[in-house]
Symmetry: C2
Subunit: 241 residues, 2 copies
DNA sequence: CGTTAATTTGAGACCATTCAATTTCGGTGG
DNA sequence: CCACCGAAATTGAATGGTCTCAAATTAACG
């Protein structure tokens, strides 16, 4: 895979929000990165690790999760190609959650020291990374609201809306039909529900003609209706800065 | 109030995590800030605002919240003196949530342009602010876990542990007895519960001799027990970077 | 000392969970 | 191409944690 292709999605995403000069891009591509493949369910980072690298998701989907003592798992975010998966580990010494692959993934792995130095030298890159981490935080906040104050239907509808809006904005999909590699158990862990109730709630969304989901293929049949059910307002995604 | 005093808590907090030179502190104090008082429940930022300033909490307690269409409110974080309340608004144009005062507050208000420029000139300040925003995000993640995968007792115990650990680390309190200006309704909104069930759950924690809470005074009677009930591991607070 | 906010109590209803079993799907080897 | 297998999705029924609604009590404050 050529250099441009590895970072195509990242640069495309950043370009929507700020101006990256050709030199900025060149300096980024000149980082000492390497491509690495991970299997489905493979761990990129485990809680307690002291990471020395930073991962850029080139291909595939990933997610962050945290376990509680009862053994239950809470998924904290999903990630799509072109996103940085561990900005927090650039400046925090110890990982406070797990990062795992949803599908087989290809990562561009960069030593965090090199990325830190690039941020020192290049204000535009620094700003892009700072923006990304602020938007990550905005998504976490919305997830607190989602699991804290919405019912089952709303939670799932909101999650589907968020994923759709992000995929659409990234240009990975047109946002109406796309490959959806998330199991019902994972949806349950992302929305703070049980798999059984997730199943029943998805059926209710299907019955109402809002979505169709089978064979890992999600169709958004009524975007307006789904957004309304999910109380979805995409402001928090800050797609236009 | 003298300049040093306004930023005392902030500098103390930052000093635990990195080295701030006398010049860094002087440059920070030389920012064009002003002190401003806010009443209890007063809004600092409303969702949709396009802020031009950044608020540093000097005295009092504040919180972030977001409303859903049903009218329910989810509190997303609490803030104590010495914390920056709207780092996200430094680089994002539109506020995606509300920031409100829990008690009467004094803020140091800084034009965000001035703070941005200081960050450009002073790498240590830049790093401190970046660290703060990463830790904010870590707290949001833990809150997703809290409302998503813990039961009522665990949620409230965890919230009390977090507040105690943060107050202790900031030096505002010794962490065993402190003024607790949060109503049961606000605890409910922070944990995704109803006020009624919050009341019953607090009673159960009191009955077990873990805490005592009345007249806005919280006593942590059994820190170990409370941490265990709340599944509390303070790693995510990153008190030692 | 009056007035409003905050806390507390009771009881019934409901949303979501739990547990267990069944069916369907996706991938693999014969 | 079909048979097989484990994973994922689906269904049923009973349980339970939390909510809702309403009222009473206590605390906070001017």
């Amino acid at each position: 895979m050529s250099d441009q292709l590895s970072f195509e999605a990242l640069f495309r995403r950043w370009s929507r929000k700020l101006t990256l000069s050709a030199e900025d891009r060149a300096a980024f591509v000149a980082l000492p990165w390497t491509l690495r493949s991970f299997p489905r369910d493979g761990y990129l980072i485990r809680e307690g690790d002291r990471p020395t690298v930073c991962n850029i998701l080139v291909q595939g989907f990933a997610f962050r999760q945290k376990l509680v003592t009862s053994g239950a798992r809470q998924i904290i975010s999903f990630h799509i190609p072109g996103e940085l998966l561990d900005l927090q580990n650039l400046f925090l010494e110890t990982a406070d959650h797990n990062v795992q692959c949803l599908t087989r993934c290809v990562m561009a792995v960069v030593p965090r020291r090199a990325l830190q130095e690039l941020m020192t030298e290049r204000p535009a890159i620094r700003r892009a990374i700072f923006l990304d981490s602020l938007i990550d935080a905005a998504v976490f906040r919305e997830w607190v609201v989602n699991v804290g104050r919405r019912n089952a239907r709303q939670r799932i509808a909101h999650l589907l809306c968020e994923l759709t809006a992000r995929l659409r904005a990234s240009g990975v999909s047109d946002g109406s039909v796309y490959d959806f590699p998330i199991t019902q158990e994972q949806i349950a862990d992302a929305t703070g529900m049980t798999p059984v109730h997730t199943n029943r709630t998805l059926q209710s969304l299907r019955r109402d003609g809002l979505i169709s989901l089978s064979s890992n293929l999600l169709r958004i049949l009524q975007w307006e209706g789904l957004s309304e059910v999910g109380d979805f307002n995409e402001r928090y995604l800050h797609h236009s800065v």
